[in-house]
């Protein structure tokens, strides 16, 4: 019984993340538009884009292998599975009968999605796809260790890498009260968020100038429902990274038991926290220019350094 409840809660939370994902993008676009004194598209625009793409036909490169069609599906599946590892509304109490995944598996699943997307980009055999894949993998391998270090820095006092348990232990464990290392790790996370969500100053989601794009470069040859899958995966990945930050650093307000009031409160808290991040991303996107690609490693090294210092402070 307990395990059925657990699975139900996990499914509901994952579904919530997938459904809310495009809305986060819509809000960021809206905030950017307002900061640039434009009216901007409706916040629901990403949903309309998805619906339109799903109705469309597909144009596929004639050099692509059969694997090309499977790539978007696998990328979406990997990202959604990663979303399933996150506590959103309810942080688990004690260990569940059926453990599922932890932060390491989450990061690894996102890496799997990135790997598959890069391979799909190389499949069509154009220079843009290859360039996008090469750059995305380069950024990815710089982000991943920093992200792992942030996780380790929190996990080393929490004694676990399971995000639900970590969220609960933030409340219960005295050692997990906010301290200097948390601040450093949180700052590292703020550096990593734009990189992981493909935003300025690392990448520019709006550009379609071939030489400046990373993530979009890999999507050039995808079209129709396939592109819809990848777009949804991108929205989901964005909200996954934001929720990961929430679960690691500020899981306050999560429901301990399943009652309508507690869940409503948790939802409100979650949406409020998301909104803060959305404003942060919107403001950063509007106030900075995209970095030259070879400046990006230095920027990410800042994140890596902070994450490492945070871990060092914890251990020493």
């Amino acid at each position: 019984m307990a395990s059925i409840e657990h699975i139900g809660a996990a499914c509901a939370q994952t579904g919530l993340l997938v459904v809310l994902g495009p809305l986060v993008t819509g809000f960021i676009q809206k905030i950017k538009a307002r900061l640039q004194c434009r009216q901007g598209a409706s916040v629901w625009q990403p949903y309309q884009d998805l619906a339109k793409l799903l109705r469309k036909g597909t144009v596929q490169s004639d050099t692509a292998s059969p694997f090309f069609q499977v790539v978007p599906v696998l990328v979406l599946a990997a990202t959604v599975t990663a979303a399933a590892m996150l506590p959103v509304l309810r942080s688990s109490v004690g260990s569940s009968a059926l453990p599922f995944g932890d932060a390491i598996l989450l990061v690894a699943l996102l890496a799997l999605a990135r790997f598959l997307l890069a391979i799909g980009a190389l499949d069509a055999g154009g220079a843009f796809g290859g360039m996008g894949a090469s750059r995305e993998m380069t950024v990815g391998l710089l982000v991943e260790p920093a992200l792992m270090l942030v996780v380790f820095s929190v996990a080393i006092v929490g004694g676990t890498t399971e995000l639900g348990d970590l969220a609960t232990r933030r409340h219960t464990l005295a050692a997990m009260a906010w301290q200097a290392p948390d601040l450093l790790a949180f700052f590292a996370m703020l550096v990593l968020i734009p990189a992981e969500t493909g935003r300025i100053p690392v990448d520019n989601p709006d550009t379609h100038l071939e030489l400046t794009m990373l993530h979009e470069g890999m999507l050039l040859e995808h079209s129709g429902p396939g592109l819809a899958c990848i777009a949804l995966a991108t929205h989901t990945k964005q909200i996954v990274i934001l929720s990961l930050t929430v679960a690691l650093f500020c899981p306050y307000g999560m429901a301990q038991d399943i009652t309508p009031e507690a869940l409503g409160l948790a939802l409100a808290a979650f949406v409020a926290k998301l909104f803060v991040f959305v404003v942060f991303l919107g403001v950063i996107e509007s106030s900075y220019a995209k970095m030259r690609f070879f400046r990006v490693p230095q920027f990410l090294a800042l994140g890596l350094l902070c994450a490492f210092l945070s871990l060092a402070l914890r251990i020493l």
Binding site: V59, G94, A108, D123, G125, R135, M148, A312
Partner: protein, 684 residues
């Protein structure tokens, strides 16, 4: 305007010859098949023995016929031996299934190679099973010589002869170190068998044992390809026939790892108390350096097999990280569970690496046997021509990049958990070092993923970039069967790791004296991975890769259903958009281009060197030809070995300059030496 861009890399072409060797008559072909089948039968028998011992039956002890008057020789298969025997046999089975077809298509000297193969595999198995120093050293030497024959037999080209020579020198330098260790122990023990040696080692003092362990580490490290002793590996592995490369990388390196385990945890370990911390730290440090350095260099390789060889250096590093941590934590109160976790991670990665690296080398062999080159820049578009090879190679790539849900992820997850929890338990500077190792391991994973996105993408996707790649066909069934075997192992070890833990029970219990791997890692059922031993009173992490994989599959099927729902709008094919030009294979991203950002970011390690030669045309603005070449260096080779070589050369030249060639001079040298020796040692 004719602009030719020649990519860097060692694109040494294999001579293209007809698919079936002209010289290989039916008799030769039968002999090749027979030889491989015999090896297959032997490997299956070995695996059966190994599984029986791992399953819990008593250790197997076999007395060998007395070859030398001064020593008894024997085989002794305990848990640790059985596990490594299993690793060797798994790769050997796949290689023997794969081998005959490969040799039939490719070999210059199939008979010699079959014979050497038949010596090589049993020798590896014998090293793992040896019960005494003499058997161990004889089998070790047999293994080295047989693999040397396999390395140099494929072609007569000078580079491969040099690779073989380098291998032989490094291997024998290692063997010399081992010989010193064994001789020291046998002198004290007055016997050759391992229990006697262990007793003798127990009577030695701590510092002597540490010196002996470092010597053994040097000897085995040279064979395992630990940085900086790895330089022979990327030269020798690609030179051998591909199924032998799979064996050398998947099994032979593991035999050296077995040596480190046998010496570090059993022969030289004191019977009471933990191992000295210096052992664990050395192994952990070497492992971390090898992991990062190996994968960094792998990224810049454009020879497919050389790339895989550098990845072996990386994976040996990951294995050693686990082993080093187990040495540090083992035998100390309160960290037994963590030590067992680290050891299990290390052993599991040994088996995992054998499976996926064997698979990748066999896949590379299929490609090489169809395109007659190892240069990745000349592949492309093979996925549509060799679908089985391509998808199996992709599976291996996902596994080696430590991506879920395959086996590479499972062992890396365990290593991460052990490092993080171990770091928390050790605290202070030691904990920080463990943290550094964890971050390096994370970096390694990202680099490996980038490297295999390149290796798979450039080799199998896009358009063919050479005539051979364009006309490539799928490999014959036995070769695919060999790959399928190892691919099955990769999937099984990833999805049901709890069952693999049962194979580790016996070795971990023997080494750690008590706790078995299942009790720690599979404590909550075979489908759940748990990491025990965190801070007191807190439940540690558990995950289920099986469940995650099922959810992944379910979602993928559901999405696929939605995606391929019939629509009014048609699905059509069109050429890739290339800014309005007619697409050709020249538009594809090459391996050199793919790795370029990393070459710039990690320039401090690579020391990249590039040269552009222009051949001027009629106008200074339009060159007729543009030749680009670039290469990266292996830092150990330039910093360490080049200086060593210079020193040796300088000494030799000094000696040569003082060699007059007249007999009087030499007599004077002899007399001078005699006088000095008498002055030094004459008193006693």
């Amino acid at each position: 305007m004719a602009t030719s861009v020649r990519a860097s890399g060692d694109g040494d072409k294999l001579t293209a010859h007809p698919l079936v060797d002209k010289g290989a008559g039916p008799v030769v072909r039968c002999a090749v098949w027979l030889g491989h089948w015999l090896t297959l039968a032997g490997a299956l028998a070995g695996a059966a023995v190994a599984l029986r011992v791992l399953g819990g039956s008593a250790p197997v002890h076999v007395a060998l016929p007395k070859l030398f008057p001064f020593a008894e020789m024997s085989l002794h298969v305990d848990g640790l031996s059985a596990f490594f025997l299993l690793v060797v046999c798994v790769v050997a089975v796949a290689a023997s299934v794969y081998g005959p077809s490969y040799l039939g298509a490719h070999a210059k000297a199939p008979l010699v190679q079959t014979l050497a193969f038949m010596v090589f595999v049993p020798c590896m198995a014998l090293v793992c099973c040896a019960g005494d120093a003499l058997t161990f050293l004889l089998a070790w030497e047999g293994m080295t010589l047989a693999s040397y024959v396999l390395v140099v037999s494929d072609t007569a080209d000078a580079e491969k002869t040099r690779a073989g020579l380098l291998y032989l020198i490094m291997a024998h330098a290692g063997t010399a170190a081992l010989l010193a260790v064994f001789l020291t122990l046998t002198v004290h023990a007055q016997a050759f068998d391992f229990p006697a040696l262990r007793d003798a080692a127990g009577r030695l003092d701590g510092s002597t044992r540490t010196v002996l362990f470092m010597l053994a580490l040097l000897g085995f490290g040279a064979k395992a390809g630990v940085v900086p002793l790895h330089i022979w590996l990327p030269a020798a592995h690609p030179a051998a026939p591909s199924h032998v490369s799979a064996l050398m990388s998947g099994a032979m390196l593991k035999v050296a790892i077995y040596g480190i385990f046998r010496f570090g945890f059993a022969l030289l370990a004191s019977t009471t108390g933990p191992l000295p911390p210096s052992w664990g730290w050395t192994v952990l440090f070497l492992g971390t350096v090898s992991a990062v350095f190996g994968v960094l260099l792998a990224l810049q390789q454009h020879d497919l097999k050389r790339l895989l060889a550098y990845h072996s250096v990386e994976n040996i590093g990951i294995i050693l990280i686990g082993a080093g941590l187990a040495m540090l934590l083992g035998g100390r109160p309160g960290t037994e569970r963590l030590a067992t976790l680290a050891l299990a991670a290390s052993l599991l990665h040994t088996l995992n690496h054998a499976a996926f690296k064997g698979l990748l080398f066999l896949g590379a062999g299929s490609v090489v046997s169809r395109t007659f080159t190892r240069n990745m820049e000349e592949f492309g578009g093979l996925a549509r021509r060799m679908p089985w090879t391509a998808w199996l190679f992709l599976l291996g790539s996902v596994a080696i990049s430590a991506l879920p849900p395959l086996n590479g992820f499972v062992s890396e997850w365990m290593t991460f958990q052990a490092l993080v929890l171990g770091g928390a338990r050790m605290g202070g500077a030691s904990g920080l070092l463990a943290g550094i190792a964890a971050s390096m391991l994370a970096l390694t994973g990202g680099l490996a993923a980038a490297c295999f996105a390149k290796a798979f993408g450039v080799t199998f996707l896009g358009r063919p970039r050479s005539a051979h790649a364009e006309h490539a066909t799928e490999s014959p069934a036995p070769m695919i069967a060999g790959m399928l075997l190892l691919a099955g192992a990769c999937v099984a070890l990833g999805l049901v790791p709890g069952y693999a833990m049962r194979l580790l029970d016996r070795p971990t219990a023997e080494v750690m004296g008590g706790l078995s791997a299942s009790a720690v890692v599979a404590a909550r059922g075979p489908l759940v991975l748990s990491a025990g031993g965190g801070p007191a009173g807190l439940e540690a992490t558990s995950i289920s890769v099986t469940l995650a994989a099922s959810v992944f599959l379910l979602i993928a099927v559901a999405v696929w259903f939605v995606r391929s729902w019939p629509r009014k709008a048609p699905r059509r094919l069109a050429p890739t958009w290339t800014c309005g030009m007619t697409p050709t294979s020249r538009f594809d991203y090459t391996a050199t281009a793919f790795a370029k950002p990393l070459r710039l970011i990690f320039a401090a390690v690579y020391r990249p060197h590039r040269a552009i030669a222009r051949e001027p045309g009629p106008s200074p603005y339009v060159p007729r030809r543009l030749v680009y070449s670039g290469e990266v260096v292996d830092l150990t080779e330039t910093v360490f070995y080049a200086r060593f070589k210079h020193a040796v050369t300088a000494v030799s030249q000094a000696i040569r300059a003082r060699s007059t060639g007249r007999i009087h001079g030499y007599i004077a040298y002899v007399l001078a030496t005699l006088v000095i020796v008498l002055l030094l040692f004459g008193k006693g």
